[in-house]
Amino acid sequence: MGIIKTDKLVFEYIRRDEDGNVEGINRAVDEVTLDIKQGDFIAVLGHNGSGKSTLAKHMNAILCPTEGTIWVDGRDTREEDEVWNIRQTAGMVFQNPDNQIIGQVVEEDVGFGPENMGVPTKEIWERVEESLKAVGMYEFRKYSPNKLSGGQKQRVSIAGVLAMHPKCIVLDEPTAMLDPNGRKDVIRAIRALNDVENVTVILITHYMEEIIHADKVFVMDEGKIAMQGTPKEIFSQVEALKALRLDVPQVTLLAYELQKKGIALPDSILSIEEFTKEVMHYYEQKGRKA
C-alpha cells in the first residue's frame, strides 16, 4: 500500500435549509480509487468545481469520506485517534499565503508546527533552519512575513509544513496568486523537496507548465478521475483536455498546431529543448530530401 490510498472514496456536500432539512446534495468526489507511492510527484488537474480540492482535503483529514475509505500512510482517516498522526504525515499548503502565516517573524512561524507537536526546543531550531534552507528562505528568517512578496510567503508556508517532517505534502494551487518569478521559485522549491528529500508531493494546479516533470497526472472531472498517466500521455490528448476545460503547455500546443498543418513532429512535446531539437531535425531532413 502506498502513502495515500483510497478505495471508492465518495464525498457529498449536503445543503440544508433553515430548519435543517436537506435541500440538495452535491457529490463532489465520486468513487475515486487511487494509490500514491511514497516519493512520487503527483499532479492533479481539473476545472473549477471538478472535485480536486475536496479530494485534497481528505488527504489530511480536514474532510472525512461520506462513503469509501482513505488511508494515509496506512491509517484510516475516520479513526479519530489517528487525526494528529495523519496531519503530521501529510501537510497541506493553500492558495492564499496570507491566510496561512500566523507568526510575527518568519522563523517563529515555521517553528509553530513542531512546537505544537512537542518537539524539544533545540530540535525545533534545527528543523526551522533546515526547512527554511530547503525552500531558500533562510536569509529571511528574521523578517516579518508582511515584508515578503507572495512567492516568498508561500515558500515560508511550505517551510512551515516541512518543519513537521511530513512524508507527504499536498499543495492546493500554491501559485495561483503569484507573479512569474514567485511561481518559478515556489515550483523549484517543491521539486527540490521531492528530488532531494524524497517527500511525496501532490500538486493541484491550473498551470500546465508546472507539471511537466510530474511522475503521474490525475485529471478530475465531476468528482471522478477522468484521465491518468504520465505528463506525456496526458498532454498528447489535446482535444480531450480542452473538452475538460483544460489546456496544454504553450510549447505542446504549438507543436500540435504545426502537426495539423502537416509538419510531422512527434506527439506531446513538453519542453522547449525537445521542441527545438525536433523542429531542427525535421528541417534538416527536409533539406536532405530537397
Binding site: A176, N181, G182, K242, R245, L246, L254, K261, G262, I272
Partner: protein, 281 residues
C-alpha cells in the same frame, strides 16, 4: 478624450520613517478605446497606479486629467469619476453580497440615483454582456461557479456604464477554459462598446495574446511602454525584474539560435505557427 497622468508620484506613509515611494514621476496618455496590459512583479506599483485612475488614491504630487479635467480640482465630481472609471478588484466575487444576482448588479446604478427602470435595464444589459445565462439571474450569487461569480462581479461594474474598465487579475484562480472565456468576453465588450480596458495580469501569455499596448512597471516607474512584440524583445531585462516573456518568445529565440530563419519576435501561438511553418513547409 483620454486619461493623462502628468508627473504623478505617490508616497505611502509620507511623514513617517517608513515612507515608501510607490509611484515615481509617471507620465502617461491613455487614449480612448485602447486595450492596455499592465504588468509588473508584486509590489511594483501596479495597484497603486490603477487606484489613482478612479480617485481612490490621491497623487502626492502631479496631476491626473480625465476627459480634460483635473480630477483633484475642488469642484470636480469624484462620484461621477468613479462611475466612469470602473475598477474590478482581484477576486471581485468576494464582494458579492445581495440575495440574488440581479439585485447585486442593480446595486451600483441604484446608488447613482437612477430610476428603477433605468437601473434594471442597465443590470440586464450588463449581465447579458458578460455572457451569464439568463436562468442564473435570480439565483443566489453564492450558488454559482467561480467563473460565473466573477462575471456577476464584473457586470456590477459594467452596469455603471464606465468609459474605462480596469481589471486587476480577472483570471486568477480560474481554470484554463474559464480564463479564456473571461478574456474573450472582455474583447467582445470592447468591440461592442468601444470602452478603454486596462488589464492587470501576471500571465504574459494572456497579455501577448490580447492587448494593444503593454505597460511594464518596476519600482514605481514605467519601465517599458510599447506594443507586445517590442516589449517582449527585452525578455532578459523583464526576467531581471521578476517577470518573463510568453513561452513562445523563448521557443522562437531558441530556434533562431539553432539556425532556423524565423522572426524571433513572434509572441503568440498563431504568429509562431505561421513563422515556423513558413520555414518548414
Amino acid at each position: 478624450m483620454a486619461i493623462i497622468l502628468d508627473h504623478v508620484s505617490h508616497v505611502y506613509g509620507g511623514d513617517t520613517t517608513l515612507s515608501v515611494k510607490a509611484l515615481n514621476d509617471i507620465n502617461l496618455v491613455i487614449p480612448d478605446g485602447q486595450f492596455i496590459g499592465l504588468i509588473g512583479h508584486t509590489g511594483s506599483g501596479k495597484s497603486t497606479l490603477v487606484q489613482h485612475l478612479n480617485g481612490l488614491l490621491k497623487a502626492t504630487s502631479g496631476s491626473i486629467y480625465f476627459n480634460g479635467q483635473d480630477i483633484d480640482d475642488k469642484d470636480y465630481n469624484r462620484k461621477e469619476l468613479r462611475s466612469k472609471v470602473g475598477l474590478v478588484f482581484q477576486y471581485p466575487e468576494h464582494q458579492l453580497f445581495e440575495s440574488d444576482v440581479f439585485s447585486d448588479v442593480c446595486f451600483g446604478p441604484k446608488n447613482l440615483g437612477l430610476s428603477k427602470k433605468e437601473t434594471e435595464l442597465r443590470a440586464y444589459d450588463a449581465l447579458r454582456k458578460v455572457g451569464l445565462p439568463e436562468e442564473c439571474f435570480y439565483q443566489s450569487p453564492f450558488d454559482l461557479s467561480g467563473g460565473q461569480k466573477r462575471r456577476v462581479a464584473i457586470a456590477g461594474v459594467l452596469a455603471m456604464k464606465p468609459e474605462v474598465l480596469i481589471l486587476d487579475e480577472p483570471t486568477a484562480g480560474l481554470d484554463p477554459k474559464g480564463r479564456e472565456e473571461i478574456l474573450e468576453q472582455i474583447v467582445k465588450l470592447r468591440e461592442e462598446s468601444g470602452i478603454t480596458i486596462i488589464l492587470v495580469s501576471h500571465s504574459m501569455e494572456d497579455v501577448a495574446e490580447y492587448v494593444d499596448r503593454i505597460l511594464v512597471m518596476n519600482h514605481g516607474e514605467v519601465m517599458y511602454d510599447d506594443v507586445p512584440r517590442e516589449v517582449f524583445k527585452h525578455y532578459k531585462e523583464l526576467e531581471s525584474v521578476g517577470l518573463a516573456a510568453p513561452q513562445v518568445t523563448y521557443i522562437m529565440h531558441k530556434l533562431k539560435a539553432a539556425g532556423l530563419g524565423v522572426d524571433e519576435n513572434a509572441t503568440t501561438i498563431s504568429e509562431a505557427c505561421e513563422e515556423i511553418s513558413k520555414v518548414l513547409l
